[in-house]
Symmetry: C2
Subunit: 516 residues, 2 copies
């Protein structure tokens, strides 16, 4: 299958003949993706409807424990039955239904430049790298507690791949004191990237700091900030049925500021949720509805995203598992619930593997496809996640990006005109011939195909002679090269100066400790 | 996330209380699968219609080169324009349309027992292990030319997994002389397994030997054999537009005998097919239609399967690539073409990786999902294929089976009754509690979840202490254990005796050399 001399000569002479000597660059826009597939169900419509009404019944009859008094007050004012002693909130379905009516079905999450904005709505598709990892690992430096250097490196890597649409809290910089960590992380995301950035919901003081940094860096007054979603946070309920203080506070603060909350119960079937997928996503749904209601009660129209991170555990050890049939089913079922309420929603690709091996890729690609076929709007943890999120792997990030880019390629319709179908091209090649050198090929060969990041398609002999390197070994070269090639986006130096002045002042004032 | 003592105690006391001490075995039937998803398109209906008419035009105006005089005669008698000098056959669309009318939309491929039969029709789903590999590899014995021992071992492994539905030519036993090889392979498939078996189309003498062996082993007279598909072959056209002697002869022999031909052009975009996916699958379609027509002209109603194995090449080296966006698109488009003509069809999962690493699993899982979403009836090469089919990997087989079993699990609807949704189970667990020990969990925990083959979900510490073994290392243990546990199916010893007597006689007569 090796290209023969005729084909090589033909190409060479074309290149020589071409007035522009430069190779035409293949440009597929990964920045704005629309899912080309019809969302697939796992459950019948009746079953999904019953899950929804059961979730409403859970909120109405059983309630949810809300640890933040301010949040309980908000629920109470809306007519919920609140018991301050037990901290339980019982929420009538009319409150939930009114929240679902006011939650926007479509909104923009904004970056530093319009080209980085993402429309969040059913049908749109965007990806986030692995997030929330306390550890980092790569083949050269080994597994270690996450550092600021690791975090900043991953931000640079995220910036380098258009198919990753948001900056997330990839690695936790454990070498920065917790009362100052949010300055370092937010500064990193804002200065090293132009993509929509993330803030942790770790209490009002940190959230206010973060939002001020975004306003400074994006050049926004309070009204302009309020008018759009410029940042987002992830709200994890504590399953079963608990909304803790920083999460409830985050919902309130982000809603007030018109910023996006991604509401994500983490319902592991068989552990903190019922052992059935149907039960786990019903509990997930109840918790998500309660959290979405809180945001809408604070500010009707606040941008919220429904979220699913339901999977199962290993019943022998209690360890979470991903990429399993149960994870796929939970993701598909969550998509049905999200479509029932009409909101954009997030799902997760994930792996519980300990190293970037065949298990890791099997689990991640399996769950990536589940997200795609479930119609997820935003796919979280889609590159670099190992150990169920305990470690961010630089190699796995590169390996996963291959899969993510492959899915992104499917979002552009393939060439299918009469000319592309190519009767004449087929007529021009006799039986036994080949298509290497024909016009149909020559006019397309530099741009026709996706070029791999990590995959090595050379034959066994060539591959062996080159050192028989596995995908994770090649991935090391790639992330190092991408870091070496990193170029920061064009930001106004005056804004960075203002940002740094703000950080210096707040640091002098003692920073802001997380609230728990 | 570790199960607490209360949960452990609850389980222990349940086990003690249970009258039947044995653990209930989890039984999901992988033997008869139906694809639960709606097939997804890659092209518009108009584009697919244009590909079909272009394929008809290719056959009518350009023709196909047919090397076997007998086949040219059959086409000629049906009204085709045949030039014996150039060996070109130009085929009118009425011949193709009549062939498509007589080709069965549904038929059984039969095993030794009814429980192994497969219904081949759109909507059904079955899997075959990797096939046609000249080499075998595993972590203990390394990469080597395939041997009879390798072939027989892979047959035993295929037999051990219900999710693999047919016996295929996994590894080529190069240590058996070619005039006797088909005896050894067919005997292996027939005696070590009870699944539908494969015959190579390497000329009439070998095919007749193989069919006689099947009749002897299945206890069939000629009429009973003719009445059903008891075996199958794979017919690869030589793209572009050539049907060689053994392939044409195979189509004729299998059609005469009422046995299944899987017609599979191998159209690599940019090499032996147009560089566009649209063009490659149009050429594939033309070649497949010509081959299907030949089978139907020989015997209207002969069981045939439409086939796709179109992907792209690396335009730098000409190497084939799999699991690429182009491969996925070609598979989805082929599904559209198959549905247009209404025939069951095969597609392929595949990898061009040289070792069972993250690349290998990314490519295989990517293409497995493509087959699933394309609505493929029979998924070929779904476990164990490396190097684009040059090597069968024992480890990769185990790793891939995890992915194949995961997809097979999705074919059974998940539990979704009111009881499964489990309001009462949710009500029984207070906020902050867990579901480990509840009745809802206890009555399901032994059977609720898929149990992994290769995946290790233990945490990093446990995994490291146990030797930090990667998926391929664990896979070695698994295939060795499966081989050690292998139990042959219950075959009538008298039939095996008859089979061996036949082989001895034919061997004495000089066997049968392949025809080329």
């Amino acid at each position: 299958m090796v290209m023969d001399d005729a084909a090589r000569r033909a190409r060479k002479s074309r290149r020589r003949a071409s007035p522009a000597a430069a190779k035409p660059e293949r440009r597929i826009d990964y920045r704005r993706l629309h899912n080309p597939f019809s969302p697939q169900p796992a459950f019948s419509d009746d079953q999904i409807a019953e899950m929804h009404t059961t979730a409403l019944r859970i909120l109405e009859e059983l309630g949810i424990k809300v640890l933040l008094p301010e949040a309980r007050d908000i629920y109470r004012r809306a007519g919920a039955l609140v018991d301050d002693e037990t901290e339980m909130v019982r929420l009538g379905r009319e409150v939930v239904e009114s929240a679902l009516a006011s939650a926007p079905k479509s909104f923009r999450l904004r970056g530093a430049v319009p080209d980085r904005d993402q429309v969040m709505e059913l049908g749109a598709l965007s990806f986030q790298a692995g997030a929330g990892c306390p550890h980092a690992t790569d083949r050269e430096r080994g597994r270690r507690p996450g550092s600021l250097e690791d975090f900043l490196d991953t931000v640079k890597l995220v910036q380098g791949f258009d198919v990753l649409h948001t900056i997330g809290p990839t690695v936790e910089p454990q070498d920065v004191p917790i009362h100052l960590r949010h300055y370092a992380m937010t500064r990193g995301g804002l200065t090293l990237s132009d993509k929509p950035c993330f803030l942790y919901a770790r209490g009002t003081p940190q959230v206010e700091d973060g939002m001020e940094m975004i306003r400074l860096m994006r050049g926004l007054d309070r009204d302009a900030f309020l008018a759009d979603a410029w940042t987002y946070t992830i709200i994890n309920t504590n399953s079963p049925r608990t909304l803790d203080i920083p999460m409830a506070q985050g919902l309130i603060d982000f809603a007030k500021a018109g910023q996006m909350s991604i509401v994500t119960p983490f319902c592991l079937a068989g552990a903190m949720a019922p052992i059935t997928v149907a039960g786990a996503i019903t509990l997930q749904h109840a918790e998500a509805l309660a959290a979405i209601a809180l945001a809408q009660l604070v500010r009707p129209g606040a941008p919220v995203m429904y979220g699913s991170f339901s999977s199962n555990v290993d019943m022998k050890s209690g360890s979470p598992a991903f990429g399993t049939p149960e994870h796929v089913t939970a993701t598909l079922g969550s998509g049905q619930l999200a479509r029932l309420i009409g909101l954009p929603w997030r799902a997760a690709a994930a792996s519980a593997a300990n190293v970037a091996d065949a298990q890791a890729s099997t689990e991640t690609v399996m769950s990536l496809w589940a997200c795609l076929m479930a119609g997820a709007t935003h796919v979280v943890h889609s590159a670099g996640w190992l150990e169920g999120g305990l470690t961010f792997s630089f190699e796995k990030m590169m390996i996963d990006l291959e899969a993510v880019q492959t899915l992104a390629e499917l979002c552009t319709p393939p060439p299918g005109t009469t000319e592309d179908i190519g009767f004449d091209a087929i007529a021009a090649v006799a039986p036994g011939g080949h298509f290497f050198a024909g016009d149909h090929t020559m006019s397309r060969y530099q741009t026709a195909f996706y070029e791999p990041l990590v995959a090595d398609w050379s034959n066994f002999g060539t591959w062996s002679e080159a050192g028989a390197r596995t995908a994770d070994q090649r991935a090391t070269d790639l992330w190092k090269q991408k870091l070496a090639d990193y170029a920061p986006p064009a930001h106004d130096p005056a804004r960075i100066e203002a940002l740094d002045a703000f950080i210096a002042r707040r640091t002098e004032q003692g920073g802001a400790a997380p609230v728990s």
